[in-house]
Amino acid sequence: MGRYLLRRTAFLLASLLLAASLLFVLLRLLPGDPSNALVSVGATPEQLAAARRQIGSDLPLPEQFASWLGGLARLDLGTSFVSKLPVGSEIAARLSVTVPLTLLAFALAVMVALPVGFLAAWRSDRWYGPLLNGVAQLGVAVPVFWIGMLLVTVFALRLRMLPAGGFPREDWAEPGRALTSLLLPVVTIALVMSASLIRYVRSATVDVLGSDFLRTARAMGESFGGAMWRHGLRNASVPVISILGIELATTFLGAVVVESVFTLPGLGTLLIKGIAEHDYPVIQGVLVVSTLAVLLIGFAADVVQRLVDPRLRAHVGGGRP
């Protein structure tokens, strides 16, 4: 396990380095000029040149690259071209919205999907089994922002029960208000996410229900619940954990769109603004942090899987199997 962790960590760092370099190169291929975000109509050629000097986009590329990687090694993501704020602290502030949003939505989705998915498989002969399956089938086809729009229309504009968007400026100092602002976004993400989870859970359950070992266990006199608990759960959990890892990462990234719908000051809205303003340090920072998050989630899912099922052998490259 120790050797595996070491190898897995090395892989993670290498991936991050590669991703960071790739990002830098891709962004500099950009035809745009980031200093354009700082000037307005009426700017003279001298002012345009001054804007470029100010943000250091007139420095040679290798120099810019070295300073970006050097900063990264010191966990310093640089300073925004536009806001002049340190990118690291901006991202940290945004994570206080995006992380709770992701985790709450994910938790809700799992809580809904596990029983529903199981029921859909276990009772596929009753009328509601196929119905649940059909709803899930529909759910995976619905664009997440559309759900958000519809929920805002109904619960904020019509019923006036919940805020239409925004996040209290007191942040989590007022947990009640913060949670209220997150309620609709959380439900929006959870609805879509649970639909796809239900399908996985259902399929895993179908496989287990039809498996020989369960039949054997039942034949040997174990109760259905006991057999499920002892054998079924363990066997079903391995693929489910891997799926959960992927889905958690997807939730985190799906938050980008939902934050826009609800004007939440999260990582996604920061990225969109950064792109519009060609604010390279911000774009690079957000994407590196997101990539790191996805890699870490994958890492965690792998480790948990190994703990659950020690039979798994080292998977080359360490990716999710």
Binding site: S15, A249, V256, S290
Partner: protein, 270 residues
């Protein structure tokens, strides 16, 4: 039997959208930039589904949107499919360090999230139909490549392949005669699912203002624009969403149906 019904239902749904797109090439109720309809005209009368806030015919825009959705879906599957299958074949045939390196590269590509990747490509290039296709296709290629690699490895491990390899069959022949015929059903199903995801990704990009620029409104953009008038003219905020669902459900059903048809022993489990 079940697979056939699923497949047929999916075809009907996809066909509906396809028909809209095809008709839009030769005939549209109005010019897409025609603003003579008056602001937010209600459905019925001269405008079957009413007009938007600028007086443009909604049905016209939905038809143009169908074309964009299908173009982006098919285009990105083409890009992602070609790149992914090529990379997957390479990785599948590769051994030791090359295989390791390729798998690691694929893992990174997959860790790089589709939508963010697409946003990055849009940043590097510009918001346009081409950018969206390239972006979504690229993101998809990682998943396709990984699947292809696994499938190829599985085929290569079979005895008859080992036999023909030792007898000196060149590997291009190996690919065309043994590998591809064995893996294409699974690949096809997966690509169909990817098409649905691509359509949704494009809608999200457009909603965020990163899709093809106006006046070629895609469904995602129509929804974004209709948000302002959701209380006064709800149809604009509903119709494009319904079409998106129809198309994606259709595509998913086709994929499910294909899987069941290709492998009748397997129960339709997803």
């Amino acid at each position: 039997m079940k697979g056939r019904h699923t497949f047929a239902a999916g075809c009907v749904l996809v066909g509906l959208v396809l028909a809209m797109a095809v008709v839009s090439l030769v005939w549209l109720p109005y010019d897409p930039s025609d603003t003579t309809g008056g602001r937010l005209a209600p459905p019925g009368g001269e405008h079957l589904l009413g007009t938007d806030k600028l007086g443009r015919d909604l049905l016209t825009h939905l038809m143009v949107g169908a074309r964009i959705a299908l173009t982006v879906g098919a285009g990105s599957v083409l890009v992602g499919g070609v790149l992914g299958v090529a990379a997957g074949l390479l990785a599948g045939f590769a051994t030791r360090w090359l295989d390791d390196a390729l798998s690691a590269a694929l893992d990174i590509l997959i860790a790089f999230p589709t939508l963010l990747l697409a946003m990055l490509v849009v940043a590097v290039r510009e918001a346009s139909l081409g950018s969206a296709i390239v972006a979504i296709g690229l993101a998809m290629s990682g998943v396709v490549a990984r699947l292809t690699r696994v499938l190829v490895k599985r085929v290569l491990a079979q005895d008859f392949i080992t036999a023909s390899r030792t007898s000196g069959t060149s590997w291009p022949r190996l690919v065309t005669e043994h590998v591809l015929p064995n893996i294409w059903p699974t690949l096809l199903v997966n690509l169909a699912l990817q098409l649905g995801l691509a359509v949704l990704a494009e809608a999200s990009l457009s909603y965020l203002g990163l899709g093809p620029p106006p006046p070629n409104a895609s469904w995602g953009r129509l929804l974004q624009e209709a948000q302002a008038t959701v209380l006064t003219a709800p149809i604009g905020a509903i119709a494009p969403g319904v079409l998106l669902v129809v198309l994606v459900v259709g595509v998913n059903l086709v994929a499910d149906g294909l899987r069941d048809l290709a492998d009748p022993t397997r129960r339709s489990s997803r």
